[in-house]
């Protein structure tokens, strides 16, 4: 026990001196969090609308002024040609052309009324449709004002979203999960394949040191590193991005460490299987990359094609991210996420079996 502890301290000290390992276990995760956290991908944003006011009369100015009062719209004045070019480059969401004959006056039946033309950016349908309905609403209100009639039906719209979920709130648990995975798989697989190839493990096995003590020191070193990583990420999330993990910090840490144990077993299996350090990145990427995209790190796991979803829903990182997200966003307890924890447990058993099969001290 004392031996395992001292060995862990020695290896942890060496780990802290390893600049590459520190870069990948702390700097890269922080970069991921800062970059994706500030992207604010999930927010709807504003609708950018260019107006070409060809009438430029009192009526059109009144109409444009009404539009400018609406927060959701970001309005620029531009000529139709210039704005169309911008639309094609997707720098704009919409273009509104106000015709020369624009007036706000009661229309007699049969009289032709001025026609507003809207050009929409087809690649941003959500923004375009919101913009259209806003313009429609403004036109309708101006019509009521002119016709001196009131709307016959009133519409009351209420938001039903309970917790206001920002992208960064969604992102943080995913970032925790993916970085724990990367740390556990890569740090073990790389370090131990190199040690195996260079004969370090063989030299250690020529001493009476028990393999179990050596393995314990390697595992504990990584778990300490994972703890440091998770706490730093959560600190940045809380203090910089104002994220409030509803289920508390401790359950998040515990579930992250459970995930780390699972991915460590895979790291050991990989280190045992690989002959050289050149094989490690290929296989490690093969294992981690699909989970990077299909396990709900940066966007919902439902973004995966429906055909493969039965598989992607069972990936180890999917269980980890789902558990972390339910704790962080919905305030779930450990008991609430027991199904995901069971999934992690099954994977841990599989990983452990693989590690025992491939990581053989008598072969070094």
């Amino acid at each position: 026990m004392r031996q395992a502890l001292l060995l862990t301290l020695m290896y942890f000290r060496a780990y802290l001196r390893d600049r590459t390992a520190m870069f990948f276990s702390l700097i890269v995760p922080l970069m991921l969090l800062l970059i994706f956290g500030s992207l604010n991908l999930g927010a709807f944003g504003k609708v950018s609308l260019a107006i070409d006011d060809q009438a430029n009369n009192a009526a059109s100015q009144q109409f444009v002024a009404a539009l400018e009062k609406i927060d959701t719209l970001t309005i620029t004045r531009d000529t139709a040609d210039a704005a169309l070019a911008k639309l094609k480059r997707t720098e704009l969401d919409m273009l509104l052309v106000v015709p020369k004959d624009f007036t706000i006056a009661p229309a007699r039946p049969g009289q032709t009324v001025p026609t507003l033309t809207i050009y929409g950016n087809a690649s941003r349908p959500q923004q375009t449709s919101v913009g259209e309905s806003i313009i429609n609403e403004v036109v309708t209100r101006l019509s009521y004002a002119v016709n001196q009639t009131a709307p016959i039906v009133n519409l009351k719209v209420e938001d039903v979203q309970g917790v206001r979920l920002r992208y960064v709130d969604f992102l943080v648990p995913g970032i925790l999960g993916v970085n724990v995975m990367q740390l556990a798989i890569f740090s073990v697989a790389f370090a131990l394949v190199v040690d195996k190839k260079r004969g370090v493990l063989r030299r250690l096995m020529a001493t009476p040191l028990k393999p179990s003590v050596f393995l314990a020191s390697q595992v504990i070193t990584r778990l300490i590193m994972a703890t440091v990583q998770v706490l730093i990420m959560l600190a940045v999330a809380v203090f910089l991005f104002d994220v409030h993990p509803l289920g508390g910090i401790l359950p998040l840490l515990l579930v992250s460490l459970f995930g780390a144990v699972l991915f460590l077993t895979i790291g050991f299996a990989l280190a045992g299987w690989a002959e050289t350090e050149n094989q490690v990145p290929a296989i490690a990427q093969l294992i981690t990359l699909p989970q990077f995209f299909f396990s709900g790190v940066f966007f919902s796991k439902d973004a995966a094609p429906e055909v493969i979803r039965p598989v992607t829903n069972l990936l180890p990182l999917t269980f980890l991210n789902d558990a972390l997200r339910e704790i962080s966003v919905q305030g779930a307890s450990l008991w609430d996420v027991r199904a995901q924890l069971l999934g992690l447990l099954v994977w841990t058993v599989i990983g452990f079996a693989l590690a025992v099969r491939f990581f053989r001290f008598d072969r070094f």
Binding site: Q3, L6, G199, R202, P208
Partner: protein
């Protein structure tokens, strides 16, 4: 003198290849014993069985009274090991490397004293991966001495070293032997065996084909009428090299 290593009818095969074909020998307490032979003769396999790193297929291997097959852990506690291709964990200093191995044996050591013994005291705080080839071999010997071994196994200790570093290592081996430790080394440098070893065994194709003190083997060869057409030289190129460059170790 009593034998400290006893090998009887030792056999080891890898698939179809019989690497060691029933060899027997004894190493006496306090001697430097050399196992010689060309590459692939079975030297390293034999040594690694004695170190407890490989399982034997047949025969018996006893080190300091312990059967290495039955009690490999106990045997490991009694011997010091320098492997042919071995390295140490990165980001450990020389001193920490010695401490790491002491911890592996569960013993307390004066790491600085050991480093001083192998002439590395001034490199104690340097990362081991930054040491030169000769320095690393000496560090390797320091780590092999942490448990005060009864037998020190050195597998090709001077391969890849320059003449100065080789001589320096020979000196170290003599000192270790002088302190009462039995040394078992393998080499394919005959000059090394001749100056260092009290007795040598010559191995080829998995078998021991000769075993005696180097002088006895040479005398026997001459007795069989062997002559070689040499011009009597009072010096060779290595003497010239060492005269020109000095005996001091070259290490940055």
């Amino acid at each position: 003198m009593t034998p400290i290593v006893t090998v009887r009818d030792l056999r080891k095969r890898y698939g179809d290849i019989e690497a060691v074909r029933g060899i027997s020998f004894e190493v006496l307490q306090g001697e430097v014993f050399g196992l010689l032979g060309p590459n692939g003769a079975g030297k390293t396999t034999t040594v690694e069985i004695l170190e407890g790193l490989r399982k034997l297929d047949g025969g018996e291997a006893i080190v300091d009274g312990i059967d290495v097959t039955r009690e490999p852990q106990k045997a490991k506690e009694r011997v010091g090991v320098q492997l042919q291709q071995s390295a140490f964990p990165e980001n450990f200093t020389a001193k920490e490397t010695v401490e790491l191995f002491a911890l592996c044996y569960g013993v307390e050591v004066d790491a600085m004293a050991l480093l001083k013994q192998v002439d590395l005291a001034d490199r104690a705080g340097q990362k081991q991966e930054k040491l030169s080839g000769g320095q690393r071999q000496r560090l390797s010997i320091a780590t092999a001495l942490v448990n005060r071994p009864r037998v020190l196994f050195l597998d090709e200790p001077t391969t890849g070293l320059d003449p100065q570093a080789r001589r320096n290592l020979w000196e170290l081996v003599r000192e270790i032997r002088g302190a009462g430790t039995t040394v078992f080394l393998t080499t394919h440098y005959m000059d090394e065996a001749e100056v260092l070893c009290d007795r040598v065994a010559v191995m080829d194709h998995g078998q021991i084909i000769a075993m005696d003190p180097p002088r006895t083997l040479i005398t026997a060869l001459l007795g069989r009428g062997f002559t070689k057409p040499v011009i009597q030289q009072q010096a060779n190129l290595e003497d010239v090299f060492l005269d020109l460059t000095g005996h001091e170790l070259r290490e940055d």
